[in-house]
C-alpha cells in the first residue's frame, strides 16, 4: 500500500517539476558508431564541394557505351524520348514558352549527378555501377550539351569544378521568406 502510494507520488513529482516530464527519464541506448561512420556505405552523400566523391575516372566515350546498355531502355537512346524524363538538351529553355528541366538545363551542381546515379541508377540495380562507370556516365551526359568538352575525362578532382548553366537559378525560400 505504502509502496504504491510513494510510486504515485514520484510520478506526480516528475509531472509537477519537470517541464517535459514525458522525457524526464529514459535510458540512452545509442551505440558508439565511430567505426561505422567511417565506412563507405555510410558516406554516400556527395556535397557540391566534392566531399564524398570516390577516387575514379571516366570518359564520355566509355559513358556512351554504358548508357546504351544500362540506361537507354528507360531514358531513350540519346537521353531523350524514353519513359523517363529527358536528361539532356533544352539548355536555355527555362524562360521559354515550353521550359524543359533536364540535367543540363536545370541541375545546379554536377556533383548531384554522381550522387544520384550511384545511389539510384540503374533503377533495377542500384549500386551496381563502379565509380569509374559513374564518372563515365557523368562525362557522357554533360558532354552531350558541351558543358564539358567531349574528350574531357571526369574524376573526383574536376567533377566539382564543372560549371552548370543553371548554377544560380535557385532562390532559397527557407528560412528567410516564410
Amino acid at each position: 500500500m505504502s509502496t504504491g502510494f510513494s510510486f504515485i507520488s514520484s510520478l506526480l513529482l516528475i509531472a509537477c517539476f519537470s517541464h517535459s516530464y514525458a522525457y524526464a527519464e529514459y535510458q540512452s541506448l545509442g551505440k558508439s558508431a565511430e567505426q561505422l561512420s567511417t565506412q563507405a556505405e555510410w558516406n554516400l552523400t556527395i556535397t557540391p564541394d566534392g566531399k564524398g566523391l570516390p577516387i575514379g575516372k571516366g570518359s564520355s566515350a566509355q559513358g556512351t557505351k554504358i548508357f546504351a546498355m544500362k540506361c537507354a531502355g528507360c531514358h531513350g537512346p540519346a537521353g531523350i524520348g524514353g519513359s523517363a524524363e529527358p536528361l539532356v538538351g533544352e539548355v536555355g529553355s527555362l524562360t521559354s514558352e515550353y521550359p524543359e528541366k533536364t540535367i543540363n538545363s536545370y541541375w545546379p551542381y554536377a556533383t548531384t549527378l554522381f550522387d544520384y546515379i550511384r545511389r539510384a541508377m540503374p533503377i533495377d540495380a542500384p549500386f551496381s555501377l563502379s565509380a569509374n562507370e559513374v564518372y563515365a556516365l557523368c562525362a557522357y551526359l554533360l558532354s552531350e550539351d558541351d558543358i564539358i568538352p567531349i574528350d574531357q575525362e571526369l574524376n573526383e578532382e574536376n567533377l566539382p569544378q564543372v560549371s552548370m548553366p543553371n548554377r544560380d537559378g535557385f532562390i532559397a525560400i527557407f528560412p528567410d521568406k516564410y
Binding site: Y23, L29, A33, T47, C74, W107, P108
Partner: protein, 419 residues
C-alpha cells in the same frame, strides 16, 4: 443558394416530426408479426451463423472499389504514386491501407533486426540505434497530414483533369503517428554548434537523401514507428520514418537509415532537380518546405451525381494547413460570388485534416461548388487565377488553389477551373 444552418435544423425537425406521426397512425408493429415463421422476411445473414474470427480484419467485400489509384512508370513499377481515395472516405483519419504512396524505387522489404539508424556528421559522438532499442524510448503521438509536394499538380495544366477528387488531390493523407521526438536522438549524439542542416537518407532502392533544416528536427519532428496504432506499413516506411508535421512529403523520409548533421544542404537530386518550382522568369523556388493551406469538397465531387432535384445534400470536405490549425472554411455554390461558412468538425488539430460540412439545398440549377480554407496565420487558400499569376504554370509542385466542381442541371459533376 446555400441554406443557413438554422433552416437546415428546422428542415430536419419537420421531417422527424412527420415520421413520428406517421408511426402513430400506422398499424401496430406486432400486427405484422403474426406469421408462424419469419424466415421468409429476414435476410440470409440473420438465419445462419456468421463467419469465424480473423487474425487481421479486412474491409467488406462490398467496399472493394475503395482503393488507392496507382500511377507508376511502366518501365519501373516501383517509381510512381498511389492516390488516397479521399472521395470515398469520411472523418479525418486515413486507413493505413489507403495512405497515399510515393516511392522512388519501390517498397523495400526490410528485416527490422538487420536495420540500423546512424546519427553522425557534426555530432560529438556518432551513434547507431537498432529497432529494439528505439522501441524502448519515450514516445509521443501526433495526428498530422503528410502531403506530397506534387499533390494536385494536374491543376497546372491548361484543361481541368476529369479525375475523382482523391485521384487528383489524394497525395495527402492523415494519420496518428507515434514515435520518438527526433531531438532526443540528436541530443544524445551531441549537436555541434556549426550544424545547421541534417541529411536524411532512406534504406530503399533509391537510397533517397534530402537535406532538412536542423531546427525542424529539433522542433516537432518524430521518428515514427507506429501509424494509427500499429507498426508502420512497409509502404509507409517500416520499420521507421521521419514525420515532419506540415512539411512536404519528400522530407518525411521513409525507411530512415541515417541522419547526418552538416553545415550546408547537400544539394541532392530531390532538392534541386525535383521539388523545386520553376517560375516564369526562369528562376526556381527551392526549399519550399511548408505545405500551404488547402481544402477540397470530397462529396459531392466528380464521379458522383445528385439523384434528387430538388434535393438536400451534405457538402463535405477536408481542409489542412502546414502552418497550423484551420480556422475557417467557406463554401460557395456560385463559383465564388457568394460564400457561406461551413461547420468545422472538431477536434481541430494543428497541421492535420479538418473535416468541414454544410447542408445544401439544390434547386436543380447550374452551380459551381468551391471551398476556401483559412488557417490560424490568416493565410487564405488562393484562387487558381491568383496562384497562376504568382507562380506561372511550370512550377509543378505546391499547387493549392481552390477546387471547383461544376453541377449541371441534370446533376452531373465535372471538374472546372473557377476564377
Amino acid at each position: 443558394m446555400i441554406k443557413p444552418t438554422d433552416s437546415r435544423r428546422q428542415f430536419l425537425q419537420k421531417i422527424a416530426l412527420g415520421s413520428a406521426f406517421a408511426g402513430t397512425f400506422s398499424l401496430p408493429v406486432w400486427a405484422a408479426q403474426t406469421k408462424l415463421s419469419l424466415s421468409d422476411d429476414l435476410p440470409e445473414w440473420m438465419k445462419t451463423s456468421g463467419k469465424g474470427f480473423s487474425n487481421y480484419g479486412q474491409p467488406s467485400p462490398h467496399e472493394q472499389q475503395v482503393i488507392r489509384w496507382i500511377s507508376a512508370n511502366p518501365d519501373a513499377l516501383g517509381n510512381g504514386v498511389s492516390w488516397t481515395p479521399l472521395h470515398d472516405l469520411q472523418g479525418t483519419i486515413t486507413p493505413n491501407g489507403l495512405h497515399y504512396e510515393r516511392h522512388h524505387n519501390g517498397v523495400p522489404q526490410i528485416d527490422p533486426t538487420q536495420h540500423t539508424l546512424l546519427v553522425n556528421g557534426l555530432v560529438d559522438k556518432p551513434l547507431s540505434f537498432d529497432v529494439a532499442s528505439l522501441l524502448r524510448y519515450p514516445m509521443i503521438s501526433r495526428t498530422c497530414f503528410i502531403e506530397c509536394g506534387g499533390n494536385s499538380n494536374s491543376g497546372w495544366r491548361t484543361n481541368p483533369i476529369q479525375s475523382k477528387a482523391g485521384y487528383a488531390h489524394g497525395l495527402v493523407s492523415n494519420a496518428e503517428w507515434t514515435g520518438i521526438p527526433v531531438r532526443l536522438l540528436l541530443q544524445e549524439a551531441g549537436i555541434k554548434t556549426d550544424a545547421k542542416w541534417v541529411i536524411a537518407e532512406g534504406a530503399d532502392g533509391a537510397a533517397l537523401n534530402i537535406s532538412i533544416p536542423l531546427e525542424k528536427l529539433l522542433d516537432d519532428a518524430l521518428l515514427a514507428l507506429y501509424q494509427n496504432g500499429e507498426r508502420l506499413r512497409p509502404e509507409n516506411g517500416y520499420p521507421m520514418r521521419l514525420v515532419l508535421p506540415g512539411w512536404e512529403g519528400i522530407l518525411n523520409v521513409k525507411w530512415l537509415r541515417q541522419l547526418r548533421l552538416s553545415k550546408q544542404p547537400a544539394m541532392t537530386r530531390d532538392e534541386t532537380s525535383q521539388y523545386t518550382e520553376l517560375q516564369p522568369d526562369g528562376t526556381a523556388r527551392q526549399f519550399t518546405f511548408i505545405m500551404e493551406a488547402k481544402s477540397l469538397i470530397t462529396s459531392p465531387s466528380l464521379g458522383m451525381m445528385l439523384p434528387d432535384n430538388p434535393g438536400t445534400y451534405q457538402l463535405s470536405g477536408l481542409a489542412w494547413s502546414g502552418r497550423g490549425k484551420i480556422t475557417r472554411v467557406e463554401i460557395s455554390a456560385d463559383g465564388g460570388d457568394t460564400w457561406t461558412d461551413a461547420e468545422l468538425h472538431g477536434p481541430i488539430l494543428d497541421r492535420a485534416f479538418t473535416r468541414f460540412s454544410l447542408p445544401w439545398h439544390w434547386q436543380g440549377d447550374y452551380s459551381v461548388l468551391q471551398s476556401r480554407a483559412t488557417d490560424e496565420t490568416g493565410y487564405v487558400q488562393p484562387t487558381r487565377n491568383d496562384l497562376v499569376a504568382n507562380r506561372g504554370t511550370y512550377g509543378f509542385f505546391h499547387y493549392n488553389a481552390i477546387v471547383s466542381w461544376e453541377i449541371t442541371e441534370t446533376g452531373d459533376i465535372n471538374h472546372v477551373y473557377g476564377i
